[in-house]
Symmetry: C2
């Protein structure tokens, strides 16, 4: 494909719009890392892979080989076509159209999760994506996202997950109140991560199955939500900073849960 104005290119580019993603149930993954992880962990959801000739060569082992081995459609396109399809300024010559997964909270809870994180009204794409990546790295069982949050299939979110979107279930469109009830019903403790918390992260009960509840970047969690959680936990601030940003706070909490922060005194 060499015509950046073809119908196919227009259709892929349209996936940058949330309404089109929701109607079609598809989204774009840009860049070799994300596409590689999609091909590796969710090949049944990959509809088409687009690569430039140069990228096909460079990522032969990482992307193109595994995609062909999985019987996926791999299309060579001109750099102009790829640029017209992509949101990123430099998608590194690789893009895939993928069907969105729709795991349910019930599925996640049926797996008896030990560690979850819930994003409530999180609006910044980079924050949301970074939390998904951090949750993956910390070994969380799933990420839960309320309906007032950023669309996790938006290009910037997908990019900042660095492929983690394909590593663990991300449940979207959740109602916050119902989710807190469902978690309680499943025996999962809910900890609001909030600077107002009177429990320090070092004293939180991390030995039981639990879910970190993260609020909006600017206004945090409303008081009634904090009150409905089993505890309100603050990451200790040692210097003069007012707070950590959302993604950092989530990562520190998740790593505390993962045991790094509970491993006892250091060797030194």
């Amino acid at each position: 494909m060499t015509n950046p104005r073809s119908d196919r290119v227009t259709a892929v580019r349209a996936l940058q719009k949330r309404s089109v993603r929701e109607r079609t149930g598809r989204f774009c993954v840009e860049g070799p890392q994300g596409v590689r992880e999609a091909v590796r962990w969710a090949p049944e959801r990959v509809r088409d892979v687009y690569v430039t000739a140069e990228a096909a060569d460079r990522y032969a082992d990482d992307v193109v080989g595994p995609a062909l081995a999985a019987d996926l459609f791999v299309h060579e396109v001109s750099p102009e076509v790829l640029a017209a399809m992509a949101d990123a300024e430099a998608p590194q010559g690789v893009l895939a159209v993928v069907h969105a997964a729709a795991p349910s909270l019930a599925d996640v809870l049926a797996g008896r999760p030990r560690l979850l994180v819930l994003l409530s009204s999180v609006r910044d794409p980079g924050n949301a994506g970074t939390v998904v990546r951090g949750a993956d790295a910390a070994g969380a069982d799933a990420v839960l996202v309320t309906d007032g949050s950023v669309d996790v299939h938006a290009p910037k979110v997908v990019r900042s997950t660095a492929g983690s979107l394909f590593h663990l279930p991300v449940v979207t469109g959740l109602d916050l109140g119902q989710t807190l009830e469902d978690l309680a019903g499943a025996g999962v403790a809910t900890y609001a991560a909030d600077g107002t918390g009177r429990t320090s992260l070092t004293a939180a009960r991390l030995g039981v199955p639990h879910c970190w509840v993260m609020g909006n970047e600017a206004w945090g969690l409303p008081a009634d939500v904090r009150a409905r959680c089993d505890d309100v936990v603050a990451v200790p601030i040692h210097g003069r900073a007012e707070s950590l940003n959302l993604a950092m706070a989530a990562t520190v909490c998740l790593y505390a849960s993962a045991g790094v922060l509970t491993a006892g005194p250091p060797a030194g």
Copy 2:
């Protein structure tokens, strides 16, 4: 001031360029949080504060009052003037021109630091700013930045520090090799934070004065730099993620150092 094309506006806007910042020794702080922290912690460095009428009202207690109490120049400007000065799309009606501090590594080492972080060839403004904020929150004594890194006075870096730029010394323009030598000479252990490390963060010697060494976002730390550090430490990855991003990895390491790690087993 109401003329967005005045010489004063042009001069402030020019501070978005690194060369102008370096020549004048000044930079811009945008938004009420950053300006408030500059006024509070470094009033002697604040040259001018610019506010719109609406922001002057809204941030009377936070920004304008303290600025006037510190005998600073506070100028009311039109929203058009502020927008013309600022890099951010929405600087919330507040901007200050500030003299850059130039703390030296020798000054920092003379204070017998317990916890430092060194950014080597870190290029992303958001990452650099977030590390400064995380270092502040974790109680680090200073942030060190090599000369191949992003300019810490660039607008996006300043914004993502959320005021922490005025809370702890940020030493810039350092030569990496010389800095590693100076740290060794001062008895500060150097730990390369790198996924290749054979020491897990949970086993690192965090009870001695130490400096985390963070490499470039894409290529990490060169082998010869890792070899010159006292240890190479990896943040454990529990899920399928390849790595954490730079700012998250730095924050987890810094919080481990800050004693979250040494707080003993959790109550749960």
